[in-house]
Subunit: 429 residues, 2 copies
């Protein structure tokens, strides 16, 4: 492509992201859209040079847009496309680019139709959403009333996207990706994510550092980073190549090298979550699962059933908080609760066994523990959780101690329970 | 205090935060320090006008610092104070302020001592950390080698803090807080959050706009913003006053005005989540609750039991995915499943009734629906969810249609179910 004038957009190599919304300048919300956009732009070989968050403030947004558009090839704005007075993106773009706002009657109709299909009248404020900077191309929004905008300005591109992730993400994938692809140089960023459990971050680092360290000096280099959140560690690999095939082949070899070292601690290298891995293993054996939870309160069932198609193998979950429920619904013997307490290996085992026999499934899980903040003792502290898994040919029981608040303890416990099931189904320790 | 020259810093009312580090421009890391700093600054009555993230890049950082220092009273930089070549903050500040970098011998000694106390020799690179823009005041770092900086420049303040939260946070609290307190007007920022359900964002806007609009011209003005995520809408109010008492009194009146208009759609104005509101209502009546879930797969139980102390009122949850479980564990009559299908008002009612009688609780919930992506029909599309709540003196059944993917449908369904319970317990419609 030859640039015949300065008004022909140049290939996009650099980008700036501006997130708009006063709520993201409070301690209560943060901008997560830019993470999604960055990942997609990197896939297209575009480098994000910076990100800014500004409030719903005419002057600040104008300043920021002017500042960003001078520094990079493409500016991505998120938020401020709603119908309320706070939503300034359309106006500010028009002002900065010195172009008028015009009402698009087709959009008014679309918004009206969207409301009437739900039996609602379009509120007058929503008309604001049909005002567009002249010359803007619309990016349709199948999930909401806020259309996105694609604007050529001099040799730059300005893109405006709605704030809610569930509107932004499909719009990016369905309407924006191809447009961007046509404007970017043909380099391709390939990625793989390895998901690990049962090791600490430093253990993973010690094991893998001798393997990945030399990759940084190769041509092309494979970038590696280790990310740790509670109960879950990820190794992210990426490489930039001319073709996707070439990139994926390089990463395949890298994954194999790491997998050998990590052994059974590696549960996924293809993007699947732990609950999906467990689901696939159950499907492969044609087994069904039932879950009895006390402290985790339904989280294990909820994670398992978040997987589409889980009705094929998920039969029943019981959240048994009270002792009565444990006795009546899970046939936990009363003497066990009295002698060992609700948080004990024998009770966990009885819960797994009870739910398995009640549901008539091959596999049963029992989890009982002290999520906190109250209820801990010296012998059984907050964060202590007992796990049992029963199958036709084995029973396993484990006691663990987790740290963090109530939600973190429960999340880690759900992760540990799912991982126990995975290891049993994979027949690994 | 009387300003005798333009070089006397003025009281800090506005701030900008610049986070420095290329890793925060990848999809793998985000800036969390700014959340901490924002909270502290708000406590001091300082408003954060914007946040920027830039890479370890001389030009971008210089641009950004110049841009920010022109817009606010104080600029907070985080990161880039380490010993490596990537760490540019000191140099860039010196360059932007046109002031020389000078080596502080005391710092060299401190760093050397820090290393030798661990039996290590100070690497030469660490000398870079003793180079400071002339006139800068040091903020000691008890947890690392990177000292922070406090700089007066014209009538502005520039603060540089280390990137690792475990170094930044104690430095802020121990060395920075008092300095800032001396520079801020004795003003206090108070906040309230109203949580709403059962209305769309535009409906909330239409209802409340006439009420909050005049507040913006009052003295002091009450700032209002409306935030919408699925099944949940929030109104954030904030006001800046001399004392907290004054601020909270103003907000109390504002909340009352909005509450009157919003009626039963307002479920919380004191920070409580919906599941906490439901829990408190159950406690007040000394009632217990049991939950039978199909499509939501344990999410309702999980949300209810995320509340500390929920064991006082949460008795039992059953996740009944298969028809067999619905029949055997919840006593749903087989003919109903055959005649009306698993997703029907009669089955939802039978589930609520079954789990209530099994658990022996006052309140029972039954939820059944089609979360997708598969399983929808023309008559019963994906996103259709049926709800039933049974108590000693009433039974309510509702059919709803939600949009979005599997997880969003389930989240909205859990929100709707909890809200039904709330309205019944509050005896409101």
């Amino acid at each position: 492509m030859v640039d015949v004038s300065s008004n022909v957009p140049r290939p996009i190599e650099t980008a700036w992201i501006i997130a708009i919304g006063s709520e993201m300048l409070t301690p209560f919300r943060s901008d997560t859209n830019s993470i999604y956009i960055t990942e997609k732009l990197n896939d297209l070989g575009v480098e994000v040079r910076g990100k800014t968050i500004v409030g719903d403030n005419h002057v600040e947004l104008g300043n920021e847009l002017r500042h960003a558009v001078g520094r990079v090839d493409a500016v991505f704005l998120t938020g401020g496309l709603g119908p309320t007075e706070d939503d300034l993106t359309r106006e500010v773009i028009a002002q900065v680019l010195e172009t008028p706002l015009v009402e698009d009657v087709k959009i008014v109709d679309q918004i009206r139709t969207r409301f009437s299909s739900r039996g609602l009248r379009m509120p007058d404020v929503n008309r604001r959403q049909a005002l567009l900077p002249k010359g803007a191309t619309l990016l349709p929004n199948p999930r909401g009333t806020a259309a996105g905008l694609w604007i050529h300005w001099r040799d730059k591109i300005i893109v405006a996207l709605p704030g809610p992730p569930r509107e932004l993400e499909p719009m990016f994938d369905e309407s924006l990706w191809d447009r961007l692809r046509n404007r970017t140089r043909d380099m391709c960023l390939s990625r793989r994510v390895l998901r690990i459990t049962g090791l600490t971050e430093s253990q993973v680092e010690e094991l893998t550092q001798p393997i990945y360290s030399p990759w940084q000096n190769k041509k092309p280099p494979i970038a590696t980073s280790i990310l740790a959140t509670f109960g879950r560690i990820e190794i992210h690999l990426s490489v930039r190549t001319a073709t996707e095939t070439e990139g994926l082949a390089l990463l395949d070899r890298a994954v194999q090298d790491l997998a050998q070292t990590l052994g059974s601690s590696l549960y996924s290298s293809d993007g699947r979550k732990l609950e999906q891995v467990v689901g696939d293993l159950l499907c492969a054996r044609k087994w069904k699962i039932a879950v009895a939870e006390s402290c985790t309160g339904g989280l294990i069932s909820s994670r398992l059933t978040d997987v589409p198609g889980s009705s094929d193998y998920f039969e029943m979950g019981v959240v048994a908080y009270g002792n009565d429920t444990k006795i009546k619904r899970l046939a936990v013997p009363k003497f066990m609760l009295n002698e060992h307490g609700a948080v004990s290996e024998s009770v966990a085992a009885a819960m797994a066994s009870g739910v398995r026999s009640n549901a008539g499934t091959e596999l049963g899980i029992g989890v009982t523990g002290i999520a906190g903040p109250a209820g801990g003792t010296q012998e059984k502290p907050v964060g202590m959780v007992v796990f049992a898994v029963e199958t036709p040919d084995r029973q396993e029981v484990r006691t663990m101690r987790f740290y963090g608040g109530r939600e973190l303890v429960n999340y880690q416990a759900s992760q540990f329970a799912l991982d126990m099931v995975r290891r049993i189904l994979e027949d690994r320790d």
